[in-house]
């Protein structure tokens, strides 16, 4: 096991609920993914030293924070972990600047090049410093909370559902800020989410939890699609995630090409060469047995049916269209089109159905 590796083992029970998780990883950025109530936030509390009844072994950023076997237990204030809670928890009696200076105890403007100054710049919150928490939008609050955590020069950053309280359009913007922040930092990051789109792009490793137990862990692209996790990720909204690069752009749309040559049209103009990650709900994919004539859908992709799974009147059709795609149809539609593994079809996707997640 390498020096910088992270190790977490936590046992805890609260009434009906029990948490029992043990794992270690080397990646810098890890995502903990699971539905609400799976124990993600409780695990985070234990890591932060805020769950007194937990029995735990925790090593982060190259330092043992807790080891019940050795009787070691650093107090929360000694752990130097930057916590960004779901609801930001900006101190309401202080200005943004005072919130940021809270950890250092200094009220003078941050020195140029300091950790705080860099965080303020990267998160674009320089104009907000004089405001109070209640004068900020949800996205601004989250960004200030992240800057505050970084200002304390933490040995690791813990993000608890950083986008959950934001509405959809804002989410994509804040996510871009977060990803940039993530790439600039060198400390380990633990990123909690129940959003499979977010889990796909946020970390190098995804740790999946359900009902207080570990379900799977590994590279997100493999883990979230694995047999054990797929029903969960699908229930939470993961169906199609497509990576690509902008190859052509117009006034109101652009074309994205994936590594395996699939081309898709998006309803936004983006600079050529920009990397994008798109998500697509399976019920937004239409199938046609014959080549369609003139249709409004901007994306008509020849595809081959790989697999058909029927579950409670619903058919889940896995396609190879250059990239793997999942479509959801009624069983009646599958019969009417006479679909079976190997059938050649055309997948129709409206440009608007493609959502950019990063």
């Amino acid at each position: 096991m390498s020096e910088g590796s992270t190790q977490i083992r936590v046992e805890l029970s609260r009434g009906e609920f029990s948490l029992d998780v043990s794992l270690s990883w080397d990646a810098r950025v890890a995502v903990i993914f699971g539905p609400s109530g799976s124990g993600k936030s409780t695990l985070l509390e234990a890591v932060l030293g805020l769950a007194p009844s937990a029995r735990a072994q925790i090593r982060m950023g190259g330092v043992w924070l807790e080891d019940d076997a050795r009787g070691l237990r650093l107090r929360s204030e000694q752990r130097r972990l930057g916590w960004v809670p779901q609801d930001a928890l900006l101190f309401p009696h202080l200005s943004v600047a005072q919130n940021l200076a809270f950890a250092s105890g200094r009220s003078a403007p941050p020195a140029a090049g300091s950790a705080l100054a860099r965080a303020i710049e990267a998160l674009e919150i320089g104009d907000l410093l004089g405001r109070r928490a209640h004068e900020l939008s949800g996205g601004e609050r989250q960004r200030v909370a992240i800057a505050r955590a970084l200002a304390s020069r933490p040995r690791a950053l813990l993000l608890d559902e950083p986008l959950a309280s934001l509405d959809l359009p804002l989410r994509a913007r804040v996510l871009r800020h977060l990803l940039r922040m993530r790439d600039e930092l060198e400390i380990p990051i633990l990123w909690i989410t129940h959003d499979p789109d977010e889990a796909q792009v946020a970390g190098e490793i995804a740790i999946v939890m359900e009902r207080g137990r570990l379900v799977a862990a590994g590279p997100p692209r493999e883990v979230l699609w694995s047999r054990a996790v797929l029903p969960l990720s699908e229930a939470l909204g993961l169906e199609n995630v497509i990576d690509g690069r902008v190859v052509e752009t117009g006034a109101h749309e652009c074309s994205v090409e994936t590594a395996r040559g699939l081309r898709l049209v998006l309803p936004v103009a983006l600079p050529i060469g920009e990397r994008v990650c798109l998500s697509l709900r399976a019920h937004d994919v239409l199938l046609s047995a014959d080549p369609p004539g003139r249709v409004s859908a901007r994306n008509v992709l020849p595809a081959r049916v790989e697999r058909i799974e029927i579950e409670s009147g619903d058919a889940r059709v896995t396609l190879d269209a250059g990239e793997r795609l999942v479509a959801r149809l009624t069983t009646g539609a599958v019969e009417r089109l006479g679909l079976r593994p190997g059938s050649q079809v055309h997948a129709l996707i409206k440009a608007q159905a493609l959502r950019r997640i990063a």
Binding site: G49, L50, S76, E77, L81, L89, F102, A103, R148, A149
Partner: protein, 224 residues
């Protein structure tokens, strides 16, 4: 009744109120915090006991204090050994005021602390603050409105205290005669003019306290 007399009675009343409020401030805040943040066995009983002086007849509270503080009470030997005479001194008036004011302060503090999300304090801990410093820099400022309001309530309650004070401190002109006691004594003696003068002073002090409390509440509301 002379102006000097009125000034003396007013001064003593304010001193009794201020000393009583100052004495219960820390225990009141601590009790409020304990009740707001901890759950323990018998909590309801503790809450009821704390509220007791608020609902008991003040004269009954006074009698209990007389027993506790008097030379013939269970703590009598202690007072004798220390050589202090509490009963019928202005200290006794302050103690009576503190006892009846305490539930008001503790209650107000409990509500004020219960309204502050404990997450703020937890977050302050992760930013490197000890539990005490996190409380002083986050929870206390956020609850300060309620705490100060509770202190003002206890103070005004002290100014008007009569029953318990009369029993344990007596009505000794120049020594234990507060506004409320002075009004009663003058009515008994048929000195209506003097009673009315003291009433006017009581009215002015009570109005001023409540005005301060309300204005302060409003201004800190605007600052939120």
């Amino acid at each position: 009744m002379s102006a000097a007399e009125i000034a003396e009675i007013t001064g003593l009343t304010l001193r009794v109120g201020a000393v009583a409020t100052a004495a219960i401030l820390l225990p009141g805040v601590a009790t409020g915090l304990l009740l707001a943040r901890r759950s323990f066995r018998g909590k309801a009983l503790v809450q009821a006991l704390i509220a007791l002086p608020m609902v008991l007849p003040p004269v009954a509270v006074g009698l209990a204090l007389l027993l506790l503080l008097g030379r013939r009470g269970p703590l009598g030997p202690l007072w004798s050994a220390l050589g202090i005479e509490l009963v019928f001194s202005w200290w006794a008036a302050a103690i009576a005021a503190a006892v009846v004011g305490f539930p008001l302060l503790a209650r107000a503090c409990e509500q004020a602390f219960a309204a502050v999300d404990p997450g703020y304090e937890r977050l302050a801990r992760t930013l490197g603050l000890s539990p005490l410093r996190a409380f002083l820099r986050v929870t206390l400022p956020l609850a300060s409105r309620g705490v100060i309001y509770g202190a003002l309530l206890a103070f005004t309650r002290a100014l008007g205290e009569f029953g318990a004070t009369a029993l344990v401190a007596g009505i000794l002109p120049g020594r234990t005669e507060t506004l409320a006691l002075g009004i009663y004594a003058r009515v008994q003696l048929g000195e209506d003019a003097g009673a009315l003068a003291l009433c006017a002073v009581s009215f002015a002090i009570a109005l001023a306290s409540m005005l301060i409390a309300e204005t302060w509440l409003r201004s800190s509301e605007a600052g939120r």
